[in-house]
Symmetry: C2
């Protein structure tokens, strides 16, 4: 398989972490990482637009040439092919909890973090239309959501329960992506979040 | 089961349409719809915040009191309990396609449509911080995405393939939600989209 991706972008990282947790390499499953640099606008070049008309990353290409877009579609497909360890839950209710928390991590953390970056960071100046006012609104949302997640992580080990799941991957990728916009866990204020972050950071997949 | 929802909001409608496609009523599964009015800010009242700390809708409550948030977590849970007809795909690759297209419909249509509404509509003035400039950027995105979806629907009957799926539900709820912000399918320009819309509108679930 080929994974078209940018090593600096949060969504490709979600898929790389997912693949590392599944130990695809250890199973003898070959995944070649192919860099498509957003900085150099290679994602807007015809070669990539043929894979993804919107120029987004990552894209998975199967040996027969079929392509799959959207990080969570790729991860769910890999979960079906390689069910162990389960990263989307283990029974109907547990899977619903994982989906709920992965959605919360996406919509309440990753999304506003990304909008802060897109609308306020110099990287995007002249590349896209920015609305700094919206970025600042989203900055406040991120702070509130970090408080919420910190509170939630006082009740359990991982984002969706006692087991590490895709929801932890999404949350850690969102929080690390926030650093470029100076959105950071406050270690004194967010003790539960900091405890969880340290635990996730210690996993080999964190460096994927 | 209880579904806390607002009859005018797009996300609760996704779940109601999903339930109608599953014919839960015809199976003897009781789902009571309980209105939580966003207009009257009942979603910000303590009773609802106890169900959803962020005050969002819908929320599903099971007979034993457990609650489930996030539309897609609710729909996936119902898909597990009532697999027929399948609305998330039928095999690993098909399920990946449905997830991909449902994500596209959410992130590329429903999300920007919602941001146009939140950031430019009088309904939200004085209720939330608005960034009209961002709303106008998202208005352009919606127009581009409608062109894209129109092109895609020239190749197949439904959003994710030959079968009606959750991706069609998300797309039609997004497009109908756009009307309040004057975002509309252009019948002459979007012939494929208009053909698909007519087909989805004719299903009994459309009125759910």
């Amino acid at each position: 398989m080929l994974l078209y991706q940018d090593p600096r972008a949060p969504n490709p990282r979600r898929v790389r972490m997912f693949m590392a947790e599944k130990d695809l390499g250890g199973r003898g499953v070959s995944v070649e990482l192919i860099e498509v640099s957003i900085n150099e606008q290679a994602n807007r070049a015809p070669a990539h637009l043929a894979r993804h008309p919107l120029g987004l990353l990552p894209v998975l290409e199967l040996p027969d040439g079929r392509v799959l877009r959207e990080s969570m579609a790729i991860c769910r497909y890999l979960e079906e092919l390689y069910p162990e360890p389960p990263l989307f839950g283990t029974d109907a209710w547990d899977r619903a909890q994982v989906e709920m928390w992965n959605r919360h991590a996406e919509l309440e953390l990753l999304f506003p973090v990304a909008q802060v970056f897109r609308n306020t960071h110099a990287f995007w100046q002249g590349r896209i239309k920015q609305a700094p006012e919206f970025g600042e609104i989203m900055r406040e949302v991120v702070a509130e959501r970090m408080d919420w997640l910190d509170h939630e992580l006082g009740h359990r080990r991982f984002v969706a329960g006692d087991a590490f799941t895709v929801a932890d991957i999404t949350a850690v990728c969102a929080l690390d992506f926030g650093k470029i916009s100076n959105l950071r866990i406050a270690e004194d204020r967010h003790r539960n979040l900091a405890r969880w972050y340290g635990e996730v950071k210690a996993r080999p997949s964190y460096k994927a």
